[in-house]
Symmetry: C2
Subunit: 625 residues, 2 copies
Amino acid sequence: MGVVNKKNKQANMKLHTVKGYLWVFVNALIDNPAFDSQTKETLTTRQASFGSTCELSEEFLKKVSSSGVVSNLLSWAEFKLNKELKKTDGTKKTSIVGIPKLEDANDAGGKNSDKCTLILTEGDSAKALAMAGIGVVGRDHYGVFPLRGKLLNVREASHKQLMENAEIQNIKKILGLQHEKKYDSTKGLRYGHLMIMTDQDHDGSHIKGLLINFIHKEWPSLLKVPSFLVEFITPIIKATKGKAVKSFYSMPDYEAWKESLGGSASSWTIKYYKGLGTSTAQEGRDYFEDITHHKKDFVWADDKEDGEAIELAFSKKKIAERKDWLTNYQPGTCLDQREKRIKYSDFINKELILFSMADLERSIPSMVDGFKPGQRKILFCSFKKNLVKESKVRQRVFEFVYWNHHACSLICYRYWLQVAQFIGYVSEHSAYHHGEQSLASTIIGMAQDFVGSNNINLLEPRGQFGTRNAGGKDAASARYIFTRLQPITRLIFPKDDDVLLNYLNEDGQSIEPSWYMPIIPMVLVNGSEGIGTGWSTYVPNYNPRDIIANLKRLLNNETIVPMVPWYRGFKGSLKETSSKATGVTYTITGVIEEVPDTRLKITELPVRRWTTDYKEFLESMCPIP
Amino acid sequence: MGVVNKKNKQANMKLHTVKGYLWVFVNALIDNPAFDSQTKETLTTRQASFGSTCELSEEFLKKVSSSGVVSNLLSWAEFKLNKELKKTDGTKKTSIVGIPKLEDANDAGGKNSDKCTLILTEGDSAKALAMAGIGVVGRDHYGVFPLRGKLLNVREASHKQLMENAEIQNIKKILGLQHEKKYDSTKGLRYGHLMIMTDQDHDGSHIKGLLINFIHKEWPSLLKVPSFLVEFITPIIKATKGKAVKSFYSMPDYEAWKESLGGSASSWTIKYYKGLGTSTAQEGRDYFEDITHHKKDFVWADDKEDGEAIELAFSKKKIAERKDWLTNYQPGTCLDQREKRIKYSDFINKELILFSMADLERSIPSMVDGFKPGQRKILFCSFKKNLVKESKVRQRVFEFVYWNHHACSLICYRYWLQVAQFIGYVSEHSAYHHGEQSLASTIIGMAQDFVGSNNINLLEPRGQFGTRNAGGKDAASARYIFTRLQPITRLIFPKDDDVLLNYLNEDGQSIEPSWYMPIIPMVLVNGSEGIGTGWSTYVPNYNPRDIIANLKRLLNNETIVPMVPWYRGFKGSLKETSSKATGVTYTITGVIEEVPDTRLKITELPVRRWTTDYKEFLESMCPIP
């Protein structure tokens, strides 16, 4: 049973099923056997009275595992699972009910079903746009169904996940898809075309990719049916000048046009349309009136190339390949939006890769400044806000760094800024897209100074920013706490360097630079953690003085000295416990002492072991009193 | 059974329990009866073969209901419920486990338990402050337990709610409280004092009130034990000047001091401390070093007065009294923070009432401008942002309103503002405390223009602000949509009036006025809904032209004409269906037509019936195909 469940994790094999597939003949000698009847069919002597036990050897069990029994059981398990999946199959019928938010095409599932297109939209607001468009093209041949966000990555999903995923089941039902069926046309389906309509941003690309992945995994034949899978594209930028309107479907197109105009580009008004929600209902109607210009077919060009590209992007087995793929990414890569047909491999390698790169960028800190984009935006806004409230300039020499030969100007806030207000400022001035809560915890994290948090906190905390009791989760609400730049921050990120930085631009707004250039490697000072696509990172904290000493050595062409992690204020010890080619392992130990009456007193926990959690752990080991 | 369950909703009486309390003797004549044995103990003839049925008369059943059986069952039910509650009783023991986040006092439950104080804090960050303070006063006599937010109002809570409320059960355990026990001292408890420590804001008052309500409902005797229940107060404002620090524990105290200083008050730096989280760990230590100054005892002065006050505030039976109580509220009411002892009735009538008033203010719109505070803040910030970006002033006469004798100046945004950025701006500039999500939906709501939303939307939508499909829930993400002031808004809220308004001040920041003065009653134009404490409101939308016509009549001393609700763009009909002293009822009807092939075509739904919901409702009535 164990062997089968291991080979097929979905199998959920039960003992009684195994019994049905297995005969075991035992040749044994039992003293004074008792039987249930004269025919001696069943032995009724209890096992304990046998007088001997039958231990099966490892070797015997191994032979059983490699016998036909296991493969029989495996195919039985697969049959059972497929049968369950088939239960959720769709059928070709003209009307279906019980799918909330579906707007079914009038002809779906009927004799004109091959002319019907189901539009899958990214969320309810995109559905509203599609509904406006359908007002133009009519409801006979167009249906709309809003996706609730990111579709499940079905490639390695468990049977249970598939069965319980309402979105997957609904798409199967709406299209009338049947499990394991091979399609050479769309005749058996309720719709002849599946159109995906997402925002023009990275997450939109991801959703398209996940849909392609779903169809490819379950019905690879369908992707080869011409113009079954199509996408609806909307402009990413519109330029207006008087009554003239120019639409651009990719940033490079827009930039090329802008360059071609030279100085006269500024007379055009530019509007960004990254989200479908930016378009008004009227614009939705306009797009659909000109639907041939907004529709693109995905095409299956080559089994090897297209199939492998999809697997590369979504299979858990391709982690190493995915790393190579991302490593070889060329900045500037993008899908040529003028092509009417998109090869799947091109979609993966030229569009989806941008999502994966963006995902990496937001999860893995920059080596240069140690920041993830959210943190960088906050520092940028601290500086920017500062520039406005600039009040007091003092000259001071940065004691740490001797090569910083000119004195830095130190600028302080005169006023403490309420964190809630600062959140408002950051989201207004730096195109921060991930919600107030996440912004609040990033700001608070940058100002924390308890042991195990920052070695140098760039923001100064005033009020409750969290403690070692709960690892900072006990910070107060953003409207009760205040912060400002630490005086040291502008010494590490000198104002004079600001002009050297490469400031990014989002939708016409100038935002934070691609990275800052701290005078010491901040990624080592405060450490960092993150999990992205293909890669993850874990950098412990180091002592700024060690780092600076090494920097001096480097400047003097001396050999640098290996450093051990260091956490400001930590009273326990840190010891290297193993050192391999892949990295060094350290063991961090707290402080514990014996106090007279047979008790132990813990005065220091290891770094990032928090008091409340640890007490709960200790309590869980206590006998119930 | 039904009767019992009706008299005690918690009883959950089962049939078999009733049987145990009831004997029914039936005198009946059965033809050819069959029995189980010669002793004829049980009749085995089936009921269907009796030849007659025994219908019990209404009168008979009524007699049964008023017999002793019901009261017996009721007391049995109560006994059972109490037994369950007793199961969760605490006991006086020196160590308890299994309560996450509790920091128990060393002496709690021991022979010095009467010297121990349990500090209940509002949230984890306040716990961190209390922990800092305990570093000063020691852990022998002080324990801390953080509340997770608002305690359950136990007064009308169901048995199930009480049993499942982890917070209530934990407090019982930590204090060692026993169900229904009468306490004349705290000797039987694990702690001698219960100290509540909340933010200095309205929600903090509410939490104190809910705790008092909990103790009063379950153990009224405990509230009479002197200094059992105490509160820990922290300054609400600190004024600093050089090394001098002055702390104020109420706003009137601070204002009196400020006035006494006259012009020289400006040389002091003022800091607001409404949240406990604003205080640093050092400040926490300072407070606890001077604990006698920060501790206040609640005192039970008078059974009638104190008990009735608590019930007035929390009992469902006192809705009418609560209305009177709030109606008689005098602006400026506040608890004298110089008193060392607080009578419960004073707490209710002078502190908790401020919470109830604030709750009303944020839930019920102002009659003057039709706004709830959130909407007013958004309008205020629209105007404020506008002042900065002021770009184009046009003169135009407001066509609607002839008495507005001077031409209004109409100021437009030149740029559309991204809603996400506007959210940032509003939270920075208007002390908005209820989160980005709620702010986003309020902004979006003010810009919606589909049928059933606003008759005059003050903000202009650009992008997807929602449709009748989903009642506006299908609006796009705040970062994809844009808004600006409608040209008409400044005509309704003339700029010239701005100087007449009473601008509020929060923590030193000048924010929105107490109300705007629109030139027509906007509460009638866009309607409003809300549920507060004691009151709720529902105002339908009216036609601005009807309103203006009536205003003209008023100005001309003519009689005004009753108006019927009106929704811009609505194609259905609206009819008065009843008219009573308490109000008029209207029935709103959509449009439905017969189309040839036995089908019906709905072209208009009643106002605020949304398409998706309605389709689901229709589908639910369809036979499964």
